[in-house]
Amino acid sequence: MTENLSRRNFLSRGSAAVSAVWLSAHWPAMVAAAEHAHQSAKSSAPPKFQFFSPEQAAEIEAITARIIPSDETPGAREAGVVYFIDRALTTFAVDDQKTYREGLPGLQTRVRELFPNVERFSSATPEQQDQVLHSFDEQANSGGRNFRPNAAAHPFFETVRVHTIIGFLIDPDSGRAGNRDGIGWKVIGRDRDHMFQPPFGYYDKDYAGWQPNPPDAEKTKA
């Protein structure tokens, strides 16, 4: 079976695959990286919000929880996606602040249009919440490698959707407050180890080794 070497083990003792020369050349950088990882671990307690008010954060978290819901496995809520989004809006996604600032009141208006007795998104039932979100989104045909945003979707919803997915799956060691404890990677089955050794999966587990193609193979044209 795959030998599991955690990142910490990798950093502290190296392995047969890493040459001594490489270790000596990179030791200072690796120590710095390990120190950084340690700092991130220490600060994993929920940080204060920088952009959202607590009330806004509760609404955004409720949206993320419908995009990647918690069921038998954890979802966006457990992965701390709202903290990722909050930090994103003061770092790499500053340009999206307006989208959030204007989008959230619009969403609440839609909630009250559809459900006059419901005060805000977070207090609606999950079914009602989904209905609200569907009204902001139209299914796009996403065959193949389609990384473009869905033009038919409302920009606010599309932005929250993409941010939620990124916040759920970003490298947990990237210091962006997303994918808390690697929860997102656990859900999709990605080991958090920093290096891997074969066999990797079911189909290469019993591979008998390379066998040459038949010697009579002719160069044929299709």
Partner: protein, 553 residues
């Protein structure tokens, strides 16, 4: 310990200034400094090292850690020269020391004999200006071996019956097979095709100062943090610096090549990080800035003698751009492949390298590989089956099930050289330094689109034979985004139809050389870097010989 590196003054007339430190520039720097010349490499991007190569998809993919910056370097696109180009992100290339070789997939197939003589063999293709190279595969073969041994390529010689002849085996065995590779190998054999272990510019065994691949899984689009990927940064530039004769000068954006009244270039003008302008003097200039920036630099360097662009008496600088065509099919399997572990590709086949145009009805050919080259966020945003819900429980369940069970079959194919396909200077759009931005004009030759979709259909057949539970392939349309940047200052014997001769010397200027993807005459079958590097090794030999004979003075 880093060796003491030379710091040349800009007023020092060094032997060579090399513009760009990527696949070609890095090798050129290594070879020429090793041969005793004084070299300055001007690289527009920063000098990053392994410690900078994180797995943070935002930093690398959204913030363009390793690549050209759309905000600073806007681009425009149009399909044909009659249209007004619209500002649009039109290309990606490596913008750091090591260039695109830092983040590439590292597929390292050689070109085959046919790639150099296709025009003679099949005749003209309507709507394209297909030409033979002035050199043959045999001329380049020793340099392919040199790339494999000096840069570090893993593979198995003789495993593909379609491989061209070679003078040496690979220096190290292939990387381990992945589940996607086993699936391709079994299915391809079932269909009568001839799979083989992928030649990869990734170390399967450690080399001095470099680790073997640790299979971390952040490979395509990311820099290698253990030096296993054989980029110019890991494999060539350290050798150049060790000579004590080569200075790599990062954050140096060359925007003009100066020429004297005798028609000789005298050096390269660049902005430093603070946007101060300098002229680095040199006896000769070698431009290795890639198939987009090399023609742009020549066009920006227009002068009295060359009003249409330096070394552009032919008028074809920037033209005959080829991007390579490609098709893809995705499959989901019953059991876990865990293909997120490791490098991208472990098996491929070349049965369709040379298609018979009479039978298939179009020109072209390609290679087909099995791969998984997506990191988690990219996978979730772009690789789920069509009609998967975009959010909610259905999205989450599909994502959770498919991530470890998905693989892709990629077909990599030819592009025809069409005159109107080009990089040019946008008449209105400017970059952050106030210089004309790149305009991409591109409309695939109809045969290229046919080939791409033909390759997709073979990929679907393969997934079918492999027993994929689910498979799909998007219809491939005309491209409007450039990754492979080929053919824009092509090589040839005729100064009217080519920009450089077979020594990579421009026909027009005796001490100006160009070497990168722009030099290619044909597109090959989608994996150009191996050939760009072989050309760089060969060009360095030719340039060294010219310099030693005093022909550059």
């Amino acid at each position: 310990m880093k060796p003491d590196l030379p710091r040349y003054k800009t007023s020092d007339e060094v032997d060579f200034v090399i513009v760009g430190s990527g696949a070609a520039g890095g090798i050129m720097a290594k070879e020429l400094s090793t041969n005793g010349f004084r070299v300055v490499v001007l690289e527009q991007g920063p000098y990053l090292t392994e410690a900078d190569f994180v797995h943070d998809e935002i930093k690398v993919l959204n913030q363009d850690l390793l690549t050209n910056k759309p905000k600073l370097q806007p681009t425009s696109f149009r399909k044909t020269p009659n249209e007004k180009a619209k500002p649009q992100r039109a290309l990606v290339y490596g913008r750091c020391v090591g260039g695109t070789s830092v983040h590439f997939t590292a597929n390292f197939w050689r070109f085959h004999e046919i790639d150099f003589v296709e025009r003679s063999k099949i005749g003209p293709v309507p709507g394209a200006d297909l030409r033979d190279w002035p050199i043959t595969y045999a001329d380049l073969e020793p340099y392919y071996s040199k790339v494999e041994w000096e840069i570090g390529v893993s593979g198995l010689a003789g495993a593909s019956p379609f491989d061209p002849p070679r003078s040496k085996p690979y220096p190290m065995p292939p990387l381990p097979v992945k589940s996607s590779g086993v699936i391709l190998e079994r299915a391809a054999r079932k269909l009568g095709w001839h799979p083989f272990p992928a030649p990869m510019a990734i170390l399967s065994q450690p080399r001095p100062g470099r680790s073997a691949c640790v299979n971390c899984g952040f490979c395509l689009a990311f820099g290698c943090e253990v030096g296993a990927k054989s980029s110019s940064l890991a494999a060539a530039i350290p050798v150049a610096e060790k000579t004590g004769r080569c200075e790599i000068r990062p954050n140096s954006y060359v925007h003009r090549i100066e020429m004297d009244s005798n028609g000789r270039v005298t050096g390269a003008v660049y902005f430093d990080e603070k946007r101060n302008t300098h002229l680095q003097k040199a006896r000769a200039v070698i431009v290795c800035a890639n198939g987009a920036e090399t023609p742009r630099l020549l066009l920006l360097s227009a002068n009295k003698q060359f009003p249409n662009g330096l070394a552009n008496s032919s008028g074809i600088v920037g033209k005959y751009l080829m991007l390579n065509s490609g098709g893809v099919a995705t499959g989901v399997f019953e059991h876990q492949l865990n293909d997120y572990k490791g490098f991208a590709v472990s098996r491929l086949f070349h049965d369709f390298y040379e298609l018979d145009a009479q039978k298939v009805g179009f020109y072209g050919g390609g290679g087909i590989d099995a791969r998984f080259d997506l990191t988690p966020v990219s996978f979730a945003l772009g690789a789920l089956p069509p009609n998967t819900p975009r959010w909610g429980k259905g999205f989450k369940d599909t994502l959770a099930h498919n991530f470890t069970r998905t693989m892709e079959i990629f077909g990599h194919g030819t592009s025809l050289p069409v005159e109107t396909n080009s990089f040019s200077l946008d008449p209105d759009l400017k970059d952050a330094w106030g210089l004309p931005a790149l305009c991409l004009t591109y409309k695939d030759h109809p045969d290229d689109v046919k080939l791409a979709n033909w390759l997709s259909r073979r990929a679907l057949e393969l997934l079918d034979a492999a027993g994929a539970q689910q498979k799909w392939a998007p219809t491939i349309g005309e491209q409007q985004f450039a990754v492979h940047l080929l053919g824009t200052c092509r090589m040839g014997n005729d100064p009217k139809t080519s920009v450089i001769n077979s020594d990579h010397r421009t026909h027009d200027v005796k001490n100006l050389f160009l070497c990168d993807g722009s030099s290619l005459v044909t597109s090959g079958r989608g994996q150009p870097t191996m050939t760009i590097e072989a050309l760089a090794f060969r060009a360095a030999d030719r340039i060294t010989a010219l310099a030693k004979r005093g022909e550059l003075a």
